[in-house]
């Protein structure tokens, strides 16, 4: 790394973003969006950001009714279109198909699908059982297959759509992270690339966003000393936050982003 002080002696260290302003006009009015795993964390932030931009939002959740209600309440506070929540497991094909049928009945179309639902467990290979592996791969990868399969036929009919898969830096770079999680997220990138080829002719854009370490994200299980190492190595010397990732998601699924497809964008502050 070059020593900046030599070039510009007055440069000061700034370890976090200050004065961040949302300025670009992203208009999702009239857009119908389904987000999987929208009851908390990044999923909730994505629901809120898409609603702020004018989209009508529905989301799935697997466990907490109270958390799902919080997402609905926060969207209601925005005085935008009300959100709908569906208690549907990412692995329940029948319930997923029924939910899509209901949404199409109400909305006539789904313009945006954001596959966000995922899990992570911190187990080394020696302690990982077959069922641990299956649970992670099923939720993080098979779940995307099931929701996409149920939605994509309607996008094909409309000759338009955005599918955004939430991957992870752990699926794109060499990281000391659980092998089941890394394998599942690497699978998401392969899924994204292959699907973009298959449905591109119908004007369906398929992309993957791979966040790095986020405040409150799956990385919260990382030990403190390891986290300090990461903060040293990240170019911006800080973890990301849900709001900035969600804002980028809104751009990626908007009509401002119409020629990007099959790509994975790593959003990691420069790890």
């Amino acid at each position: 790394m070059l020593n900046l002080v030599v070039i510009h002696p007055k440069i000061k260290l700034i370890s976090e973003t200050k004065g961040y302003q949302v300025t670009m006009k992203i208009d999702l009015s009239g857009q119908k969006a389904l987000i999987t795993g929208g009851s908390r964390g990044l999923g909730r932030a994505i629901c809120l950001e898409l609603a702020k931009c004018g989209a009508q939002v529905a989301f799935t959740y697997a466990r907490s009714d109270a958390e799902a209600q919080k997402t609905i309440d926060q969207i209601a506070l925005l005085k935008k279109l009300p959100a709908q929540a569906f208690k549907v497991s990412a692995l329940d094909q029948a319930a997923t198909v029924a939910m899509i049928k209901q949404l199409i009945g109400n909305w006539q179309k789904i313009d945006i699908l954001i596959n966000n639902a995922g899990i992570s467990e911190f187990l080394p290979l020696a302690l990982m059982e077959e069922e641990d592996w299956d649970r992670t791969l099923d939720t993080n990868l098979k779940g995307i297959f099931l929701s996409t399969k149920a939605v994509v036929q309607h996008m094909v009919k409309n000759r338009n759509g955005h599918i955004l898969n939430i991957g992870s830096l752990a699926g794109a770079r060499i990281l000391a992270a659980p092998i089941d999680y890394c394998a599942s997220k690497a699978g998401v990138i392969g899924f994204t690339e292959a699907l973009s080829k298959e449905v591109g002719r119908y004007n369906i854009k398929v992309n993957c966003l791979a966040p790095g370490i986020l405040d409150g994200g799956v990385a919260k299980g990382i030990p403190e000393n390891k986290m300090q190492d990461f903060m040293q190595q990240i170019s911006l010397h800080r973890a990301g936050n849900f709001t900035e990732v969600a804002r980028f998601c809104a751009f990626l699924v908007s009509n401002k982003n119409t020629y990007m497809s099959g790509t994975t964008t790593i959003m990691d502050g420069g790890l």
């Binding site: 961040y20 300025t23 502050g269």
Partner: protein
């Protein structure tokens, strides 16, 4: 909304003009450079004659930046160039560019533009960028610098050098919160793509999943987002090629 100030190097080109328009349409102020032909004056744009490969050009840029009374919020480098192909007598270009038929001078010239010129502009802009709360640098690269496709060797090599520049700079400038990324378009409806053979264009369309060329506006939208809003992506190549 508070207006921001951006510098667009080569703002008179196919992509550059779309970036300038996109920024001023949202109420921002732009300093834009041109090399040979000055575009029409428009409100909120200060045009500057600047050839980045010459000392006088860099001096002009330096003087304009010294006059800034506000922070520079972003720098876009949209430098383009004509693609050297092999012309047949009927004016059709060959499908395959012959890598070693180019004048070596052409290779040196492109590295001068994309490498040395880009480096010079960034170095001049740095002190003004670091005054911004959310500074960003976006370099317009090309698909041919990222993926293996039939293309003129000198152009691919020069554009590919952007990748190293972005990665190294992102690590260096991250500590002062400056994010550095490239936006790498595939084949577009106009601009440098105009000089590509019809045969190669048809090949591109066959393999591009969206089955069409991109537009300057689509590239400008991405550049605009990265200049204006990006807070946590750095060191990345953002490929816009319709899934080639």
């Amino acid at each position: 909304m508070k207006a921001k100030t951006f510098l667009v190097v080569a703002g008179s080109g196919y992509i550059g003009q779309a970036v300038v328009s996109s920024l001023i349409d949202e109420g921002h102020n732009v300093i834009a450079t041109f090399h040979t032909k000055k575009p029409k004056d428009s409100p909120n744009v200060q045009w500057l004659n600047c050839d980045l490969t010459s000392d006088s050009g860099l001096d002009n840029l330096s003087q304009a930046l010294k006059g800034l009374k506000v922070p520079l919020d972003g720098l876009a480098l949209a430098v383009g160039g004509k693609i050297a192909g092999v012309l047949l007598p009927n004016n059709e270009r060959l499908n395959f560019f012959r890598s070693f038929e180019h004048d070596p001078e052409w290779l040196a010239q492109l590295f001068q533009i994309y490498g040395v010129g880009t480096y010079g502009a960034i170095k001049l802009a740095l002190p003004y960028l670091q005054k911004s709360p959310n500074p960003n640098i976006v370099i317009v690269g090309s698909l041919i610098g990222i993926k293996a496709v039939n293309s003129p060797l000198c152009f691919a090599a020069a554009k590919g050098s952007t990748r190293g520049l972005v990665e190294s700079l992102s690590k260096d400038l991250g500590q002062i919160n400056i994010k550095v990324n490239s936006v790498d378009p595939g084949m577009l409806e106009a601009g440098a793509s105009t000089d590509i053979s019809n045969q190669l264009k048809q090949e591109y369309l066959k393999h591009c999943a969206l089955r069409r060329f991109g537009t300057a506006q689509e590239v400008a939208n991405a550049i605009h987002w990265f200049l204006d809003e990006n807070t946590y992506i750095t060191g990345q190549a953002i490929v816009l090629d319709g899934a080639l």
